[in-house]
Every structure is written in C-alpha cells, then in structure tokens.
Subunit: 216 residues, 4 copies
C-alpha cells in the first residue's frame, strides 16, 4: 500500500507538514471518519427480519443475541473512533507509510459489521467468537503499530500531552492483547471469551492508567 503506483517517481514526500498540507490532512481524517460512520451504521443490517415470518413476536424475542452484538459492536467502533480522532488530533504530520497503515486499519474497522452479524447469528459457535476476536485484535494492533510508527518518526505535535502520546499505544495494545488471548479461550468456552471483552472495555482504562505511571 505504501509503495503506490500513483505516489510519484524518485522523489518521495517524506512527511508533509501540517500547516502546508492542512487541507490534505483534514481530508484523510474526514475520509476515515466517513468509514467509521458508515461501518457503525451498517451494523443495523444484522438485525433485519424477513417479511414473511409466522410468529413475529417470538422472532423478535429470539433476537437477544443480535441486539447484544449490535450494542457491543457499536460501543467498540465508537471507542475506536474516539481513539482514532484523538490520535489524529495530536498528529503534526503524516507520510505515505502512515496513510497506508491507516488504510489497513480502516480495513479492519469496515470488517466489523460482518464479524458482528456473525457473532449475533452464531453466538454459541467458537468459530464466530474467534472471527470477532481476530477482527478486534487486528484493529487494535494495527492502531498500536500506527501510534508507535508516528511516535518514532516524530510525527506527533510537540505540545501533545504526555499521556496522550504514550497511551495511544499501551491502552489499545492492552485491548488488542486481551482480544488476542480470548481466541484460545473461545475454543474452551465462548461465554468466558465474551466476558473478557466486556471486562477489558470497563477495566482497561484504569489498568492502562497505572501502566502509564509505571512506564513513566
């Protein structure tokens, strides 16, 4: 992705300054926000009910798992979006590699409606829990790679708060790790795997806060 056929000849733009390229910068952010907004709204398609069901009341009552998957996925994409737009808020510059990483990250985000529908329809199957966990772990870890890359290349603003600079990595990394570890867990018991996801969503922040203190 980073070595795109359209990106020019011998000369590579090795980091376009935010002031010079503010417009281009805001377009990348707007495009990313668009993908987030569409993916989060497409989650609803997983709830569709055919129009010739006999007992609609019963069918609706059976949709508990679909609705739970909708709620979890909406929260997760929402959380990812907040992290993403905060990360881009402290970014001073970007380069071709970061754009490529961002597209790769968005490919995981755009995949969530599929994984979420799968989880809702086959909530007891280990396979669907594994697909869901892989999707979320993939998104988290790609985001961490993006943050590490931006930090090392000095692409972040110098006035970015220390917590923000450090935590773009660790907190998301923690979520990614838990989702990754939940893959073998799902093979034993899918409910335990799902509880680990909910736990990291609520507990993750304090752990990440302490981890940040520890690192400092």
């Amino acid at each position: 992705m980073s070595g795109g056929a359209d990106s020019g000849g011998a000369v590579e733009r090795s980091g376009v300054g935010r002031d010079e390229a503010e417009v281009e910068f805001s377009r990348i952010v707007a495009f990313s926000a668009g993908v987030f907004a569409i993916a989060i709204t497409l989650l609803v398609l997983a709830l569709q009910i055919p129009d010739n069901v006999d007992d609609i009341g019963q069918t609706l009552r059976d949709q508990g798992d679909d609705l739970l998957a909708y709620a979890i996925s909406f929260a997760v994409i929402g959380k990812f979006w907040i992290s993403h737009h905060r990360f881009y808020g402290v970014l001073a510059r970007f380069d071709n590699t970061l754009m490529g990483l961002n597209l790769f990250y968005l490919a995981w985000i755009a995949l969530v409606p599929f994984s979420s529908e799968l989880l809702g329809n086959y909530s007891d199957a280990a396979d669907s829990a594994i697909v869901y966990a892989t999707n979320m772990a993939g998104a988290s870890l790609t985001f961490t790679v993006q943050a590490i890359y931006a930090n090392r290349r000095g692409l972040m603003r110098s006035d970015a708060p220390e917590e923000q600079r450090r935590l773009a990595g660790p907190a998301t990394f923690l979520i990614g790790t838990v989702f990754l570890l939940s893959i073998p867990l799902a093979l034993i018991d899918t409910t335990i795997a799902q509880l680990s996801w909910i736990a990291v969503m609520f507990v993750g922040r304090d752990v990440a806060g302490r981890a940040a203190h520890f690192v400092r």
Copy 2:
C-alpha cells in the same frame, strides 16, 4: 462508554473549550451528521422487492405500509437531526461524558432503519409498534438526558437563546413521553398508537411552546 480505555491516565480532560478544540468539536458533529445521513438513506432498503415476483403491480400496491413507514421515519430522523444540530450549535464545550451520551444517542438513531422496516412489514402487529415506539422513546429520552447534562454542567454558550436552552429538553421530552405512553396503547390498538405519534409531531410544538412559557 465514558470511561474509555483510551481516554488517558489520571488526568481527565474535564471540558475542552470550543475555541481551543474547534476542530475536534466539528469532527464530532460531522461524525454525528454522517450517522444521521446514512441511517436516513438506509431506510430505502426496507422497500426492496425481489426480482422474481409474479404480479409486480399488485406487489407495489401492497407496499402502502412500507411507504408510510418510510415517510414517517424519514420525517422523524430529519426532525431528530435538526434538533441535534441546533443543540450542538449552542454548545460551547463538551466533555467525555457528553461524547459517550452522544454515541449512545446515535446508537438509537442507527437502529431506526430496522424498526422502520419492521413497522412497514408487520404494521398490524403490536410487537412491531412496540419496537418502533421503544426506539423513538429511547432516542428522545437519551437526547433529553444529553441536554439536561449539558445545561447543568454549563456546557452551553452564554448567548444561547433562552427558548433554545430550555426547549432542547421539554419538547423532545414530550415526544419521548408520548412514544413511551404509546407502548401500552399499542397492546390495545396499533392504529391509535400510530395516530398518537403523528399527533405529537404536528401538535407537539405548540404544547412545548406553552410549556416553556409555563415553566418561565
């Protein structure tokens, strides 16, 4: 949602000023507008007709309920969007809790294409009327909570018109209450429930206007 793992360590941004964070502010509004625009355009998917129907003329004539549900839902989402973007127009600052409440609100909005399709396909079933009313009541009341929270925390602009500040609450609260009350109504007669929705859309404004005078 408000206690996100990515939001940082010990220091919490307790309210980012609009001037300093104008860009971040406008991104939240743009993201919300995106969800509204996608949800309102996805309503059309409820009208889809399979491509091997025998009597297409008859099938189209039978779509009256679907079309009515499309029209009502388009008007309702449109009305919610106008309220939402007016509310954000008088907002001076936001904090993490408001962002969380806003995402929770958007989860109700993104659900409307599902409830609307259900209402169109099963217009006589009490269950579908209940789902629709619950969706709308949920959206209205979450919006009211957002407005009350913003008002109490002093997040609104000081030059916001008095009507705007007060009515972001009461008017939407009235709509929410009527949708809530229509849930038991739907168990008796779905048509009466639906008429109460249309009534509050047209009458609601004057009632809310008087209520505002009364409160003052």
Copy 3:
C-alpha cells in the same frame, strides 16, 4: 416538518443570515451532500447476484437492463446533486420552511435506489416505469418549489447570476414536467417513456436556455 416540535416557542427564527450562521448553513449542505453520496453509491446494490447461480456468464449477460438503470440513475442523481449544490451556492439565507422543503426533497433522492432497482428488474412493466417517473417528477418539482420559495422570500444572494436565479426553476421544472407526462406514456409503451427521459437529459438544456431568454 416546518412546524417542528423542537424549533422553539413563540419566537421563530424567520431567516438566519449566512454570515452569522455560516457554520449551520454548511452543515445543512454537508448533510444533503451525504444523502446524495450514499444514495448514489447504494445504486450498486441493485446489481447483486446470488452466490449459487448455475450459469454466471448468462446471468451477467442478462443484467443489461440493471446496468442501464444503474447508468441512468447515477447520471440523474449526479445531475440533481450538481443543481442542488449550485442552488445552495447562490443562497444567502435559509429558514425553517426551506429546511423542511429540503428534507422533503432529500426523501425523493433517497428513494431513487429503490425505483432504480425496480426499473432494472422489471424494465418491461408499466408499473416500474411509472414508479421511476413519479420518483423523478417528485424530486424535480419539489426542487422547483424550493427554488421558487427561496426566490420569493429573497433568500438568494444579490450577486447571483440572473441565469442561475431564473433557471434553478424553469430547467428543473421542464425535467419534472417531462417525467410527469411520461407517466401516461408508460401505460402505452414503456420504451417511449424511457426515450423521453433520455431526450430531456440531453435536449433539456437548450430548451431551458431559450425559455430563459423568452421569459426575460
């Protein structure tokens, strides 16, 4: 729609100036552009082929009508979007009624993916041609009403070119009229109706140009 429950009490904003409310103005335009972009991209869903077809080559060759409907509808929505964003380009102010009319107009635009799919799947049926023509006539005439209203209320910029001010009405009105007249035509012969649509797309401009001279 214009008398919305959320729009306030006794005091109605009777026309918000563009300078004061530039941000709010651009949000309405962005929301409208979002609906256009989503509707135009959803057209592709009409082309979907199930994943267990026996002779995929034959199925693809039979999709000529679907592809033609996709092309026509993409061109029509594109044309409507250009007209819409030019119209908003010469608008100085807006009020609640114009916002309501705009939402009503967008409801027609968001309906096009449905009408287009219907036209592609049932290209020989008079019913589908009638639905398509009604959709387009509805959009055109609602747009004309919007333009007439804005012109009469003096909501347009004083430096708007004369052609732009006058033609926002007549040209779209001509398209709307032809689509309207094609409804009875479709009862006789659907091909003639469809040819009248293509004719007005290419010829319409010169006729409108002459009509504008005539009116002047």
Copy 4:
C-alpha cells in the same frame, strides 16, 4: 453529463477559479470522498453469511476467496482514493466538463462492491475476472482522461510538482492498461490474470517512475 439541463443558458462558466469558488471546490472533493468511503465500506456486504447455515466453521473456511477479494478491492479503492485526492490537491480550477468526467469516474468506483462480490463468489469463472478487470480498467482510464483534460486546459496549479503533474496520467494509465490486457488473459487462465493485477500494484510504481524519467 457535461451539458446538464441545470447548468444555465447561453453563458457557460468556463472555469471557476479556486479562490473565488473554494467552497464549491471543497464540496465536490467532499462528495467524491463520500462516494469512496461508502464504496469501500460496502465491500463488507459481500462477506455476509445467512443465519441458518449448518456447519458455520466450514462455511467460514470456504470464504477464503471472498476475503481475498475484499482485501484486493479495499487496497485498490484505497489507492484510487489517494490518487484522486492528490490530483484534486494540485488542481487550481475546474469546469463543467471536469465535473462530468469526475461523476463518470465515480460511477466506476461505486461499481467496485458489485465486481468484488462477483470475483469472491465466482473466483474460477473467466466472466467474473473479466467484469472485475473491466471495472478497474474503466476507472483507471477515466481517471487518466480526467488528468489529461485538466493538464491540457491548464486547470492545474502552477506550483504543482512536475512528477505529480505528469504522473497523474502515466502511472494510472499503466494500471489501466494492465487491467485491460488482463481481460483476454482471463479467458485463458483466471489465476494468471489475477497475478498480473497484484504485480502491477507492487511493481507499477517503479515502472511509472522510470517512464516519467523517460518522458522528461
């Protein structure tokens, strides 16, 4: 498309300056970005699995082709988007013809979710490879025509880097040509055709770089 019924009477705007029409310009870019964002996110619909499959594990394992098509198409649309927004970044002005060409180009982009789903479901069929290659060749060549037109009409900024000005054409032209040549290839062997696509994505850039030197 360029001779739209709404574009005015005798007087045609023969090139609106970027400074005067900055707002209109950014709206066209935003609309285009919206179509890209929606098309790239709709790719996920090709992965949908019905909710009553017997062996979900096996069904998921059989989705390798669908996932590969998703990955390739996400990369291709992403690459096209980057090229498009760079091209518009060096554009100084636009006219009606360029807007028409851009809409025609977007019609190819919006078609990708269809071609991609087809490729995933019928990966062994020559027909689906031909449809996919035609779609990509169509997009590339329409983009090249857009770039050539803009260059000839002097619509690009004078401070645009030489590489950018020249390469908007050749590199995309190369991709387009390879996709075009892969159409007869697909009739012989679909795997070879697909390998040629992946090859041009990775190799294309160096070849284009050398071609640019050669031309200079």
